[in-house]
Subunit: 404 residues, 4 copies
């Protein structure tokens, strides 16, 4: 790749190497193999607390060097972009420090564990932009081709005025009360439960696809299982959390349901749960407008359903669009029509778009301000749920002025 | 049918002969042809205000005689059971008078246009029961075989503790702002809009299938189109409601969305709308419990999806049960396996069950008290929507004592 | 119904009252309740061999009178139309006698058990037509609204030149080797097995929808289970066909698969089987043409899938048309949009069309000649299967001249 | 990766870098990032005829070195395994030379363009095996996790004796007569059309999943469009192949349909076509057995449908298994449950299995003998189609003895 006409390098430093780190690594590695990029992502360094473990991860995932302190990573000259793949409680500190060091930042979602942190991050991003550093939050599902098509249909007026949004993110990985505690069930680390982990995704998707934002919510939160086996104790026993096994408290929500208003006047229902047996990663989004309807389910991720209300009644129907044509966003770089993509491809698309925006000195989307807007929705949900589901307004999306 | 061993007759008098009257007529006519009944429903008389129209309806639908005053129908000796198929504003008066006259009553849903009316009807039903007259409300969808199977799976413990209910009733027949006003958009006649007309069905289904009741709600109501062409003016013109065409106000909700709690602690989301383009009569019900899940969509009405959480992960999946086996409720009386039923069959099943209960002097279900419970949910929805979606408790289901 | 302007009566005499007799009775009873008919079908008389049984059936199904000899039924003055619902070995004799007696005839499919019989029936129908008697064969599935829509799309050129037909009729009711012998497994009575019973339906549907006929076939037939418990012995025991239970030979095919050419040059594959576990009545028809595609599955009978190749690639997709709009064939007479029909409705549609054709002195479709064409396909399938699957031509459809 | 405990390298040389070359490159690159491998695949060299083009491909796809003569690639010391990604007419020469040079071989499907070539390749593979070189043919779809699950269910007896296979591979990329000629439509290069390109896949899948082989066929082939615009002329014009544009003959089949017998006595229907508008890459496989059924469609590639005939009728149904659990083949190495895989993952699985087999000196599957068996099926199809669809036997699968 060092040919005379090879693109300049963009040094990547990744903090964290668990689930998200693996997905991001695959994206950085794959993006230049399928897409023409103006900069070549150079997988320079990965940071983690334990030297041996991070070295093993670097070998496995393809990072050249390692650090055991994320601050050292941020300080390196060969790092142009810091990719934050840690739990939410550390996002603000790492992202702000990186931006202040003049690095571009890609930060996993949710942006932060609180509105205050998110606001600080937006301020840091605003400040850094003037110095050329750009910040993006990783609402990756936006870059599933079928979601891009949904957005395009709305933008082209094919759905008309949005009347209804129905958004659900359904999983079942802790429906069994014997599933052990993990950091995702610890409020300190994760900020919230299903709400922030998966609810954040459907809030962002609903706003992205409709091009509107939520103006208020009425909500319920619930924790169905309040004590769980400790992961260590659990794994040390016979896998049943039998008598004698220590347990710990679940401090986050297991499920969140809420009603919302869209800025265009439509109604929305949201649901995020980890207790929907049989639904593994069902991200469902339906939109009904004055000119048509859309339906998406991540269980069939290469497909978008579209109803065009201009059709004559006798031949009208939801169209099952297999979103694998060269005309669809990102798809032309991959395989022939019908050869569907998988979960991880959206991460590659995210890397592609970010690299192109960095090269073009263009603000990537979703921005930290977009992430803050989602954070404010999550916050309003928590406040409504704590106050008899009373309607709770959400401030309009932040502008530069608001945040200075 | 007058053979020596022919069953005794049960004289039926039906009030109203529009959509519901047609469906009920088909049910009374068909029930004895496919099911063994202890009493033979005799389609004695139908009542309507206009003599010619009701005579034509009687001929078309197969009723022997006609009345232009429902009170005359109620007074007839050849009427044992009054079947109330009129708009909601007349339910209470007709049903109470019929019960007081010692007639059995089948009353279309929603039971009434207000809680007060519904309470009066329950009192009348309680009083009549001691004299042998029985009352039933027509939440017909309970008698779709797939819904019966859903109920059975819950009753057998196959779903476990209910965690989530997702209930939607989606239509699109007034999504076009030029669709004319009808009595269903007039609060005086209809009581409410999507909420009472179709929302009532999914409230009843959710309670029926889970065996639980709703204890509180948080709600939003919306009327998207507040003025519509008058039906007469509309039809008199070129079908476009062009300039000069008179319009009238829509006085009911176009859509209702609400959160709810189930008496067992689970969370529920409800949605009823007539603005979901492309969804014609999509009654969707999903239930997630601690032992399994269920999913139903009336667009595929002969099918129930069931997930059994006891399955091993490698072979687990939602089972698509085609509910057309002789072992399924009602189905054995019809066709061989796989030869699906349609919308109207549930009305026949309703007639069958009611006739059998009448013969057995057994309280039919859903009772007027069940109808009142739904009415109270609808009422709480309206109050919550009027009060910033604040959580609004629903009284526990009425018992005999409550109502005296 | 005896009002001054009531339509004249059309006396119906039905022979046989098993599965098909029940379906036909429901159709004759229901047709005038939902459709405007020029003649009123009068359910005059049903014939069966056993006096008590036929009397009970008449009471149950709503026939006024009974006969124990079909010849007596044919001879009655109050019978204008003979409805033949018996097994295939008696079709020819009853239908020919009825036509010779000047009666209209509706004959269940397959038209006959042999080409020779079918030819004789066509000759009788041709002869009777000059005297005013009309004949129709009961390929009822043609009158499912979604199939009508498929036909319309082809006729309007929306599919273009047909390239491929994929037709399957899948059941599983004898997949269990312990399922007992029935007359449908007896070549003497039934003529053939899956081939004639269900294969005939998909041959007719493929020809009807495409408007083409099959010109040749290459085929395989198979009988997987060659001995089965006798029905009597079987039912007399514990339901397991245990040791000592008598068995009898299966003399028909369990499954038929064949390739075919359409008269327009397209390729077709056909499959009919009673051994497809989990498929109860899956009639599947797919058509691919030079301008679009169609897909139908009777397991979702109110739906047709249509792909329009003129769409732009980025928004192209199979359209799921819910065939319940007033604009769809037959549907306007029933329920509002989305309130789907069931299996039996096609029988009502068949009765409606036949009554209208009789009143208009118009040849109903499918005619006996259409039935003969299907019979010739079945015959060619059997001959090909008996001759190493060698390509076997099918004569062009019979015209009046051919048969004199 | 050069850590002391890094696995030894396995030098890969790839011939060809078009569609298949891109997919194989992604596989070699990705396999060691997600799977523990005993040998590290070293992407040493890629060969292509044009120096500049192959250099650009190497940079893009991640190959260290290039050759313009495949023989030079085969001769290199740093190549342990030759990966043949060229059109079918060159497979035999390259594969045989590679094996004779002691290299392992992965050869794309179909194995060859004729049975004679395939036999020679099997002989070469047999000979090479004694010297330690192993050969595999790339029927990649075997390694889709849902197909692995199908195979497992059959092996565990859950389907019982196979009665029916229904196999289709439907595409539409040349349904438009103006789609240009490509090497895939040239018999010299491609050997056959839909038959060998996509029909070969479903033949292999049917045999793999059932564990049986085809014993005979009856077939039809068709070329619907016999002249097409030349690709060059076509692309040079306005994209419409307008008047004056040169055309060339299509010398392969556009579609193939055939009946078959399985070695266990079951019946099968096969269809491969590029003329099924709206179906982009629909690989469909259904199996009905004496104990259950399976259904797969690559349009929903992470799902397998399974019907268990042991279920009680009232709760029986096809189970929709989302094949994304850690317990499913290959899946545990990727993402959490529900985060589906895409088309290319099967290539990674293929690389993983091949590397493991090479390290273990174990014959990989599918072997060249498996490829020959498919070739014999394709050959029998062509002979049957040329001889009035007459039944054409297929020799039993080759054993070592047969081929010496």
């Amino acid at each position: 790749m060092a040919a005379p006409d090879a693109p300049p390098r963009l040094g990547i430093g990744m903090v964290g190497y668990a689930f998200m780190g693996v997905a991001h690594s695959q994206a950085w590695r794959t993006a230049p193999r399928f897409f023409d990029l103006p900069l070549h992502p150079d997988m320079a360094v990965v940071a983690g607390r334990h030297a041996d473990a991070v070295r093993a991860a670097a070998d496995r995932l393809g990072w050249r060097d390692t650090e055991t302190d994320w601050k050292a990573l941020v300080a390196r000259d060969d790092v142009d972009l810091v990719d934050v793949c840690t739990p939410g409680d550390t996002h603000a500190e790492i992202a702000v420090a990186s931006l202040e060091a003049g690095k571009h930042v890609l930060c996993e979602k949710p942006l932060a564990n609180s509105v205050a942190e998110a606001e600080a991050m937006v301020r840091a991003a605003e400040a850094a932009r003037s110095s050329g550093a750009l910040a993006m939050v990783g609402f990756t599902y936006r870059r599933v081709p079928a979601i891009q098509l949904a957005r395009r249909l709305v933008q082209e007026g094919r759905i008309g005025t949005v009347r209804h949004v129905r958004a659900q993110y359904l999983q079942d990985w802790i429906a069994d009360p014997q599933a052990p505690l993990s950091w995702r069930l610890d409020k300190q680390k994760a900020g919230s439960g299903a709400l922030g982990d998966i609810g954040a995704h459907v809030v962002d998707l609903a706003q992205f696809v409709t091009g509107e934002h939520l103006t208020g919510v009425s909500a319920l939160l619930e924790t169905f299982v309040r004590e769980r086996p400790l992961a260590d104790a659990f794994s040390g026993l016979s896998g049943t959390g039998a008598a004698g096994g220590a347990t710990g408290p679940v401090t986050v929500d297991d499920a969140a349901v809420f009603l919302a208003r869209l800025s265009g006047g439509g109604l929305a229902t949201f649901e995020a749960t980890r207790f929907a047996y049989g639904r593994k990663n069902a991200i469902r989004l339906e939109v009904n407008g004055s000119a048509g309807s859309l339906a998406f389910d991540f269980e069939d991720m290469n497909v978008l359903h579209y109803f065009d209300a201009r059709q004559d009644a006798w031949e009208a129907g939801f169209r099952r669009i297999v979103v694998t044509e060269p005309e669809h966003a990102y798809v032309g770089a991959w395989w022939p029509a019908g050869h569907g993509l998988g979960y991880e491809h959206a991460f590659t698309h995210q890397a592609v778009d970010l690299v192109r925006d960095v090269a073009a000195h263009h603000q990537p989307e979703p921005s930290f301000a977009d992430g803050l807007q989602v954070q404010r929705v999550l916050d309003a949900v928590e406040r409504s749920a704590a106050d008899r589901s009373t309607w709770t307004d959400i401030p309009a999306p932040a502008t530069s002025e608001d945040l200075r």
